[in-house]
Amino acid sequence: MTLLELDNIVVEFPTRRGPLEAVKGLSLELDEGQILGLVGESGAGKSITGAAITGLIEPPGLIRSGQVRLRGQRIDNLAPEKMRRIRGKEIGAIFQDPLTSLNPVYTVGEQLIDTMRVHLGLDHKAARKRAIDWLAEVGIPAPEARLDQYPHQFSGGMRQRVVIALALCAEPKLIIADEPTTALDVSVQAQILALLKRLCRENGTAVVLVTHDMGVIAETADRVAVMYAGRLVEIGDVAQVIQDPLHPYTKGLMNSIPQIGNRDARLTQIEGAMPGLRNPAPGCAFAPRCPQAMDTCRTLRPIPVDAGSGQVACHLFGEAQ
């Protein structure tokens, strides 16, 4: 069952020197209960894509064209109040930094209870009981005592567990997790990811996991979408994309992951930098850095074609050659 569809969305930021397109026509689909990794380097448009789904693009940014559909219903053009009801209830969000995601002057219990009362219409007592259950569920010891504590009394990993509880407590069908473990200790990262994965599997919650960490994707995701300069370059099942990447950019990404036991080999990197958003070149945005670039790459933009377990946007594939 398709849960979320992005249909050719364009996200634009008006500036004094004309609009900047941060996302330039992105389409993807996500099934219920599926975990989709959204990867790419900084500035590729992954976080903006996440914000576009939750309707939280910072003004003056806006979705210029395209549609976001949740269970077939358009949500990108809803009135603010209607969209607010969807946020938290249908689509949850987890942000990067657990240290700043919690309100410092309210107890974690109060924040959980407020969220559940807003969306589930529970009375205070019932909400409190469920808040305790949620803290236990995300692995916080002595949840009844911890409920009445303030965020500063929790460690970073514990706070991210609270954040996960907050994001899940109104039982959304979709979670947008924007770099949920980047700010955490490496040892804690794996625990948090495992927790997120387990809870989403149990509740049938789908996840869009925004990250630049291929390791995180490999561990957690079912499918991977690779973004470059505001466009999707490749999407497919996680095993195929990681083992056998099709797009030269994905190959470059995979090669730049350091291998354990390969001490003296020089770490490969993709030469050059992602092009700026201003004055985009006519062809493939990756062409200037691509080792396999051909003449057509510089003049003609590749369109996504079915390949491997998903799609790829590259002239090396499909009928363009």
């Binding site: 939750t54 939280l56 607010r84 009801r85 969807i86 946020r87 938290g88 209830k89 949850g92 969000a93 942000f95 930094d97 700043t100 995601s101 919690l102 309100n103 410092p104 002057v105 309210y106 107890t107 924040q111 407020d114 969220t115 807003v118 969306h119 010891p141 002595a142 504590q149 303030y150 500063h152 009394q153 929790f154 460690s155 970073g156 990993g157 514990m158 954040v163 907050l166 994001a167 109104a170 200790d185 040892s187 804690v188 625990q191």
Partner: protein
């Protein structure tokens, strides 16, 4: 908590000791009180006699010790000008200043906070922009100018409100209040507006800046992403965080209000402590000046100590943690 309280009280006592020392030094450097107290044709014997009687011939340390000991009991000696105990004079004048400052502070908070919130929530609206401009005026125009303009408009031109004095007052067991008579209330309006204006604009701008900052914070974004209604987001989640720093500044400003009252009281001939102080300065009435200095400092210290304590009540991060089990 108790240790904290004790530490604050010791600190406050030290501050007061320093202030009292400065006040004492005024006696040494602001001329000879004898020439003010006796008629010009007093004999040398009369002068020496009074000098002896006032203890001015005692060694410095003895005089200092006596001053501190008396001051600690609220005894600042006799006023040179009207030969009455300074503490009586101040006690008489204190209610006028206290009521003025109370009304001005309430006015500043009651208008400053809502206006600050409004301008933060509607930063682009023309009302907000207008308020910003007006508040800039409020901050930069000296208070005595606004006071005189208020008198010109409401007392001279329109004739609605009195331009000086406290109006009718009612004596409630030593505390004279202007709250209970119509003329007393009318007399309070202009001086309290003048005194409140600067504080109000300051609070408004402070609340606005803090709130804009807080609304950009991650925890507000996360709360918005959880679909919390705007009302809850603004007035619960953001407001409490906004008001914590505002509280500190306001505590400092409250002391400032008492001190600034000097100017307001002079402009409106308001019979408060500040007016008494100005008169004392004109007559080199050192005991009154010293007592005023000590009293205002005392109020400052008390207010700041209370604000510090409140801070601990409002901000959970400062509360003493009994047993925090930390763990991953």
């Amino acid at each position: 908590m108790f240790a904290f309280l004790l530490r604050r009280i010791v600190q406050a006592a030290l501050v007061m000791l320093v202030v009292a020392s400065i006040a004492f030094l005024m006696f040494r450097f602001l001329g000879d009180p004898i020439s003010n107290l006796l008629p010009e044709d007093a004999t040398v014997e009369e002068r020496a006699d009074l000098r002896e009687k006032m203890g001015l011939n005692d060694p410095f340390v003895v005089q200092y010790g006596r001053f501190i000991a008396n001051a600690a009991q609220g005894d600042f000696g006799q006023s040179y000008r009207n030969n009455r105990p300074v503490s009586d004079l101040l006690a008489e004048r204190f209610p006028a200043t206290a009521e003025l400052v109370l009304v001005a502070a309430s006015l500043a908070l009651a208008l400053g906070i809502p206006l600050g919130i409004y301008t933060a929530l509607n930063p682009r609206g023309w009302i907000s922009q207008g308020l910003q401009v007006v508040s800039l005026l409020g901050i930069s125009v000296p208070t005595f100018v606004t006071g005189i303009l208020l008198i010109l408009l409401f007392s001279v031109t329109l004739g609605w409100l009195p331009s000086f004095g406290r109006g009718g007052v009612v004596d409630l067991g030593g505390w004279t209040t202007g709250f209970l008579t119509l003329s007393g209330l009318k007399a309070l309006i202009l001086p309290s507006i003048m005194l409140a204006l600067f504080q109000m604009t300051l609070i408004m701008r402070l609340v606005r800046a803090e709130m804009l900052e807080v609304l950009r914070a991650d925890y507000i974004k996360f709360a918005r992403a959880r679909g919390m209604p705007n009302r809850m987001l603004h007035f619960k989640y953001a407001l409490k965080n906004t008001l914590i720093p505002v509280m500190t500044i306001f505590g400092l400003q409250l002391g400032g209000l008492i001190a600034f009252a000097i100017i307001t009281e002079t402009v409106f001939q308001w019979p408060g402590m500040g007016f008494l102080f100005i008169q004392a300065v004109n007559f080199s009435d050192v005991p009154v000046m010293a007592a005023y200095l000590v009293l205002v400092s005392f109020l400052f210290v008390v207010i700041n100590t209370i604000v510090d304590l409140l801070y601990h009540v409002v901000d959970p991060r400062l509360r003493v943690e009994k047993s925090t089990a930390r763990g991953v």
